[in-house]
Amino acid sequence: MGFLTGVVILAVVVAVALAAGWLFRAMMVAILPAGAGRTLRTAPPAAGFGMLVILLYILVALFAPLIAPFGEREIVGPEFLPWGDTHLLGTDNLGRDMLSRLVYAARNTIGIAFVTTALAFLIGSVLGILAALTGGWLDQLLARAVDVLMAIPALIFALLLLTIVGTSIVNMILVIALIDSTRVFRLARAVSMNIVVMDYMEAARLRGEGTWHLIVREILPNAMAPLVAEFGLRFCFVFLTISALSFLGLGIQPPTADWGAMVRDTATLISFGDVTPLLPAGAIALLTVSVNFVVDWQLHRASGLKE
């Protein structure tokens, strides 16, 4: 009986999500200019839902102080209050308002993950493209170095480096960006390798074009699609890593609100059948699922166009 209701609820949730995605897509197609609208029309409802969720997350992150009923670090009542009228989602282990912290955490966690991903991309893609373009010893050196760095499992490497440099937000950003840039490097190099052997690259070289022109005009426009998709995937990965570190108490440090740490703080409630710890965890899951749905659609599109 319980199982059956569970399935029904799940089906309803999925149906509502897909309907919302469909509506959102229809709305965007109507608003946007013809070109972008045409592309959007090929999006499946799941991707539409993903875009809707991402948009909502960005809005929440931007306007966190306006949305949150209480302050981020404000202790507003006793610990572990159940859900109620003043505190819609109750309070946490220190008596802070759960809902407010969820809202503020959107800003912190997403912001930090975004900065980290962007940094990883800057390092990884610049070096990757350059390695593919110049070849020779620079390429060999970078490729071998990345091979070695990638031979250390990511989370363990992060833990090792964090032990050395100590846990702080800046350190965490740098460490994760460094580790992830190796993955970006691999992709950027592989993608560029395929472009570098094209005849139009040969034509450009024989024309006497400089490195800068080759990268900006010849390689980047053609490498953009896979790199953008990779950005989405990397963001999810970074986001999950940061959340995992925070959950382990090694990432974003209190009193800064963060979803991973919030799960850890309220975890004990789960044994009492209280779903509160699932809320921040679900917030993480919902965002990564949404990004993945959008990326999946983009990758599908890119591969479809090739055929």
Partner: protein, 318 residues
Amino acid sequence: MPHVLRMIAQRLALGLVTLFVVSIIIFLGTELLPGDFAQQMLGQAATPETVAALRERLGLNDPMLVRYVDWLTDILRGDFGVSLANGQPVADLIGRRLVNTLSLALYAAAISVPLSLALGILAALFRNTLFDRFVNASALTSISFPEFFVAYILIFLFAGAGGMFPSMASLRGDPGLGEYLHRAFLPALTLTLVTTAYMMRMTRAAIINLLASPYIEMARLKGISPMRIILRHALPNALAPIINVIALNLAYLITGVVVVEVVFVYPGLGQLIVDSVTARDMPVVQGVALLFAGAYVLLNLTADVLATLSNPRLMHRR
């Protein structure tokens, strides 16, 4: 054949070099650690004399190169040093936990590898049907979930009041096999869900990638059945990427268990490394990291060799 052997020998050498470089990076970790190692070991109350004596005994005054060689030879003999936190030999701390971590990984792999291969092949066979879409969307969803979300959902569903499985995977009292499988079920299931999704998607993609090949069309035009086309014509050519992703996930099972072990309070290496990072207990972190890196390199190496052996172009030269 000699060619293949030479390739394998090259891979092995490369693996050794990688491990060597990794050991240097890990060793440098201690060097870069702010503060004095001997001081940390003895605590703030120690007198300068005892600190100096300890420095001498630990060889901290030797040049870096000498200390690296000493450290490495010690490790090769199984001596990982002494924990800063409780003074126990690191090897003792690791020993039992290593077995626990490996058993959990084995438990999860035994379910997830066959399951993901079967699902991936079926999804490729019935591509673009409702079944395929359902499996694919579920896989994408479970990849996106943080492990602790999956773990807590499973606890919420199966370990609440009167639940079927324990939420704490304690191994106290040396449980028998049946009891172990029961107690470790939820952590194993969490790991299974996450890795199955990855492997299944990659298996499906690797096979579907090949379905546009002219030789697959040729097989269709020879009147071969769809199942046989997938199993005999596509799968052998998709082995290399599939082997790689399996190795990657096995490596993940060993190294990525950290979060799952913490959620379920499972006494494995993951728990140990998290506690040690918090305490900045460098010798323990070094030892565990080295073990993990070794396992990782070894698995990737095996995958590389297997992928080479699965490629007739490399096995049978012109």
